[in-house]
């Protein structure tokens, strides 16, 4: 369960403190529910997601997490001078997987289909290879809740198909909080929705209701 209580967030800009992006968001996300964040550009979807993920902290308010939350799927950092394998090992170690390190690295190697390139430095990778590795790393760990910002799959058509399948698989066994502009992606993966508008969040048990509210608001 993730309890967001009265969260405010604003960023520092070049001209001092910016406007409030989130003002007074209070939402409770039950465990095991897949949630889509809906809202226009700049409504604070990514902001809320990074607050939930713990990468950023709210200006005011609290977020309680009683579960293991992933980093944004497919957006884990890669150190360019290290090889794919070394990066994978680093992430395994950070997440405390010392005993089954080899298995997980083998899984990432296998899933990413990078073959020999896995032992080459990241700076030699194409952007497709990078995102394949990043996506594979996200798939190699078991989290209670995964967060995903726009990216569900990357790489060539064959890899994208495989990635989409395992992403759906993952959304069945764990919780998912995602931002996506494609309505189809949201409908495929989520049951519930949070609609962000004017810095406030509205919870909908059914994703369709959230999308309806969002579209009606836009039509006005």
């Amino acid at each position: 369960m993730i309890a967001i209580k009265d969260v405010y967030k604003r960023y520092k800009t070049r001209h001092g403190m910016g406007e409030m992006v989130l003002c007074g968001v209070t939402v409770t996300i039950p465990s095991g529910v897949n949630v889509g964040l809906i809202g226009g550009n700049g409504a604070g979807k990514s902001t809320l997601l990074s607050l939930i993920g713990g990468v950023d902290h709210p200006t005011k308010g609290t977020i309680e997490r009683n579960c293991r939350i992933s980093w944004p799927v497919g957006q884990g950092g890669l150190e360019p001078t290290l090889t794919g394998r070394q990066n994978a090992k680093f992430v395994c170690r950070v997440h405390g997987h010392y005993d089954d390190l080899e298995d997980r690295v083998a899984y990432i190697h296998d899933f990413s289909e990078l073959r020999e390139a896995f032992d080459e430095p990241i700076y030699t990778y194409s952007s497709g290879m990078r995102s394949r590795l990043q996506f594979s790393m996200s798939m190699a760990f078991d989290f209670d809740v995964y967060i995903s910002d726009e990216v569900t799959a990357a790489g060539d058509a064959a890899f994208r198909k495989k990635a989409a399948a395992s992403f759906r698989d993952l959304s069945d066994r764990a919780g998912l909080i995602m931002v996506a502009h494609g309505e189809k992606t949201l409908k495929d993966n989520c049951q519930s929705g949070i609609w962000l508008v004017d810095g406030k969040a509205h919870w909908f048990d059914k994703l369709d209701d959230a999308l309806k509210a969002y579209n009606e608001h836009n039509a006005k």
Partner: protein, 260 residues
């Protein structure tokens, strides 16, 4: 899955960063570890040769080679730790997208890594020098260990403070780099501070690193005449102030260091 305790997370992050830094420092390029050793050895060899040419057999009552070697290694201990720690957050930016990794973890682990490497290197250099007949067995090992620990702590503290300041004011990087060069000259690495006339000697002793070098030399040869006013408390106070100031800055600006 069961949540890990904060301590368990921190420890596994430290271990991961330590291994990653070791890779970076020792195997980044072909035989990168050789160059770690070559730099201080060349500095030492050059100045030992210069002093041999001018026939300075002893400084402050101890063998010139020991004086140079010990001073140089202690100075490198400080400088390398400071520089490595200083650049720790900026060279690990990619890993901050995993929220478990905090900038302070990278800084601390880099400091530990560098201290560890400098101990290994110093032991190798002193051992070889001893085989060559230079008396490099410390007379007061405890003083050597304590002073080296304080010099390392000062390097860590300086690096911590500098890394945050550099993030807040990027131009400071140039200023700090310029400052490092005269430090080599005014810390008594190659110019004996006790040979400098008053009142300038007292001015030189404002620099805490000079105190550190004098004390390590005294640890190696207890009969060494240190510059007047040499005090362990002085450099320790500097080191602790920097470490705590650094910790404070990391606490205050933790997010600024992580944000891109």
């Amino acid at each position: 899955m069961e949540a890990r305790s904060p301590l368990a997370i921190t420890l596994s992050v430290w271990r991961a960063i330590f291994l990653r830094e070791a890779l970076d420092r020792l195997f980044k390029e072909r035989a990168a570890w050789v160059w770690l050793l070559v730099e201080p050895v060349m500095h030492i060899a050059f100045f030992v040769w210069v002093f041999a040419v001018v026939r300075a057999r002893n400084i402050g009552g101890i063998d010139t080679s020991v004086w140079i070697m010990v001073g140089m290694l202690s100075f490198f201990l400080f400088r390398r730790t400071a520089i490595q720690v200083m650049h720790a957050p900026s060279s690990n930016k990619a890993f901050f997208s995993y929220r478990q990794v905090k900038p302070f973890d990278t800084a601390l682990m880099r400091g530990v890594m560098e201290g560890f490497l400098m101990i290994m290197m110093s032991v190798i250099v002193l051992f070889i020098a001893n085989l060559l007949g230079i008396p490099t067995i410390p007379g007061d090992p405890l003083l050597v260990i304590v002073t080296c620990g304080v010099l390392w702590l000062y390097g860590l503290g300086y690096g911590l403070v500098a890394s945050v300041l550099m993030e807040l004011v990027p131009e400071l990087e140039h200023v700090l780099q310029i400052l490092m060069l005269p430090l080599y000259l005014i810390s008594g690495v190659i110019v004996p501070i006790s040979s400098i006339p008053y009142p300038y000697q007292d001015y030189m002793m404002i620099n805490p690193i000079a105190h550190g070098l004098e004390l390590v030399r005294q640890g190696f040869a207890p009969h060494y005449h240190t510059a007047s006013g040499t005090s362990l408390g002085y450099i320790l106070a500097f080191a602790m102030t920097h470490v705590f100031l650094g910790l404070l800055l990391y606490r205050r600006f933790a997010l600024r260091l992580v944000m891109r």
